[in-house]
């Protein structure tokens, strides 16, 4: 298996009884990428992560982590992987430092000699130095979450698998995590982030994979994925009828009248931008005497792509 992929699976499958929770997925995370793993609750994301980390055995398919076959090579590979899975877990009767020391001691590749120094550095990185000696039972949710990230940073890792890393963090903490992920990615660490916060993912991820009902329905470069949602042009104008005629002349497709949203006083129309440049449309409108109050291209948010791939609705998968 080439060194090009940080995570690679072929036909990975997991069944619980008769339910197929993960259905023949081919995950491909390039090295150095920040990969957003998305999907509704119950779509099989967490089960996939557990399989990748050797916690659960797949029923079929193969996995490679950092070029090594999993779970056979777990002992070699996992020291290079930092993870946060379904929230952190701590010994409430131990302090923050002692908790980290325990997980560091559990890692066979870590040298005990500089353990305290590495722990201090990791705690400093997440801003927990001042509570390092307190028992974890006294920590707030945000502190426990930060400690979890510190645990993933106890040593330089080639791969970070983070399941909802900003859960429970205040906006400041969320920004810090984002900055942290960016700086780690710049240093060459591959970051695999599973998140519900699409706006987050949009900001930091270079690649995306979308799970729905056990299947990987979309995967790839984020910009490529956004293009699945065809870009539209939104025009705010009081001269709706005249504008519609101009758009018709330009042969733009899927012309629609938008409902008036709260906060916008102008009627809006939108059309699919199909190879036509927005400035050409603007010039045509102005030339026809249409009063253009606002004009902007709408590339579609990740949320639109996500919903179109996984379906509207409140029901949890499975």
């Amino acid at each position: 298996m080439s060194d090009e992929w940080a995570i690679r699976t072929t036909g990975l499958t997991k069944r619980f009884g008769r339910r197929t929770v993960v259905d023949r997925i081919d995950v491909a995370v390039p090295r150095g990428a920040v990969y957003g793993f998305l999907g509704p609750n119950g779509s099989g994301k967490t089960t996939t992560i557990r399989m990748l980390l050797g916690l659960a055995a797949p029923n079929a398919g193969e996995m490679w982590l950092l070029g090594h076959r999993m779970p056979a090579a777990a002992r070699q590979v996992l020291p290079e992987v930092g993870a946060l899975v379904e929230g952190p877990a701590w010994y409430p009767f131990l302090s923050g430092t002692d908790n980290l020391a325990r997980f560091d001691a559990a890692n066979p590749a870590m040298r005990p000699r500089d353990r305290q120094r590495r722990i201090a550095a990791a705690l400093d990185r997440v801003g927990l130095s001042h509570v390092a000696k307190k028992k974890v039972r006294a920590y707030s949710l945000g502190m426990k979450q930060r400690l979890g990230i510190a645990a993933a940073l106890l040593a330089p890792r080639q791969l970070l698998v983070l399941d909802e890393p900003t859960n429970g963090l205040d906006p400041q903490g969320t920004r810090e995590v984002r900055a942290l992920i960016r700086s780690l990615a710049e240093d060459g660490t591959t970051v695999f982030v599973s998140s519900h916060l699409l706006s987050e993912v949009e900001q930091i991820c270079t690649h995306v994979g979308v799970m729905s009902r056990g299947k990987l329905v979309a995967q790839g470069d984020l910009t490529a994925l956004r293009r699945l949602h065809r870009p539209r042009l939104v025009i705010e104008t009081p001269d709706v009828e005249r504008a519609l005629r101009v758009l018709d002349d330009l042969a733009l497709r899927d012309v629609q009248r938008e409902q008036t949203h709260t906060g916008s006083t102008e009627p809006r129309i939108s059309a699919e931008l199909d190879g036509v440049l927005p400035e050409e449309v603007c010039a045509a409108l102005v030339h026809a005497g249409v009063r253009v109050r606002g004009l902007r291209p709408d590339h579609g948010s990740l949320e639109d792509v996500f919903v179109s791939l996984t379906g509207e609705g409140f029901d949890v998968d499975g």
Binding site: E86, Y91, A105, G188
Partner: protein
């Protein structure tokens, strides 16, 4: 890698690609021992057990009542003659219930406790390795078994020496031995009791892999210890008796004869080894293949 980040730059130099085999295991074992023995619950257990010989000595000392030979728990009648019997009496008193309960608490918590806290998955990711985890947990429980007996006999020896005369000791067979030799015998008895508890610890480890509710595992192990002793007292199932892990628990009287009779010790050791082999394998077999969804 960017040299600007001290964590990354420094740490890279200190993470070896390959440590000598076994180094990681010892480090983890040491951490496991520290985590167990620094825990308030463990310290409380040991303190309560240490109170037993103290209470016995104080009770005997303060009581003016003379006990007829043979009355009360074994060796109680000999305490006033020789303080070295305090520890032995305490062991006899603790063996049926106290010691199995203490072992049940620790053994039942080994895997179930980690599963309950959710830390089991993080240990697995570290990676600890399933075999290494099971072996480390079992060895830690064994050290605990030794610790409880050492605490009881140690406190008993100290308290007995303080409160009662210590001189030549009259053994069960009638012969007398020097105090030093008697102390050696007591050490031997402590070893015997430790061995007695190891089979139960292995059983507890297995039960612990079956659940993620530690209290349930602890209760199940405690019930097993009591059930074993009940069965051992029913004559109708006498064919079963030599196979019960509690059968030789109170058999350390043989070590207090002159010359020492080693039969009980050897039979007990073999029986406990059998339990360790069976339940240790079951624990590993169960744990090695199970999905860690906790």
């Amino acid at each position: 890698m960017s040299a600007a980040d001290p964590l990354l730059a420094d740490a890279a130099a200190s993470v070896p690609r390959r440590l000598p085999a076994g180094t990681g295991s010892f480090v983890f074992f040491r951490n496991e021992l520290a985590t167990l023995f620094r825990r308030r619950r463990t310290i409380t257990l040991l303190a309560v057990l240490a109170a037993v010989p103290l209470l016995i000595a104080v009770a005997v000392k303060l009581s003016s009542q003379q006990i007829a030979p043979g009355e009360g728990p074994t060796f109680l009648d000999r305490i006033t003659q020789n303080g070295l019997f305090v520890g032995l009496t305490a062991l006899v008193v603790c063996t049926p219930l106290f010691l199995p309960l203490a072992v049940a608490v620790v053994a039942g918590d080994t895997v179930a406790g980690e599963a309950n806290l959710g830390t089991l998955r993080y240990l697995a990711i570290a990676p600890v390795g399933r075999l290494r985890l099971i072996v480390t947990k079992f060895l830690t429980a064994t050290v605990f078994c030794a610790a409880v007996t050492v605490v009881i006999t140690g406190v008993g020896a100290v308290v007995g020496t303080l409160f009662f005369p210590v001189g030549r000791v009259t053994l069960l067979s009638g012969a007398t031995i020097s105090p030093a030799a008697a102390a050696g015998r007591e050490f031997l008895v402590a070893g015997y009791v430790t061995i007695s508890l190891i089979g139960l610890a292995a059983l507890g480890l297995f039960v612990s892999t079956l659940t993620d509710i530690p209290v349930g595992a602890m209760a199940a192990v405690a019930v097993a210890a009591i059930a074993s002793q009940i069965l051992d007292s029913i004559p109708q199932v006498s064919w079963l008796h030599p196979w019960l892990f509690s059968h030789y628990w109170l058999g350390f009287g043989d070590l207090l004869r002159d010359p020492i009779v080693w039969t009980s010790l050897l039979r007990n050791a073999v029986l406990q080894a059998g339990y360790v082999a069976v339940f240790g394998s079951l624990a590993y077999g169960r744990f090695a293949t199970k999905d860690l969804l906790a």
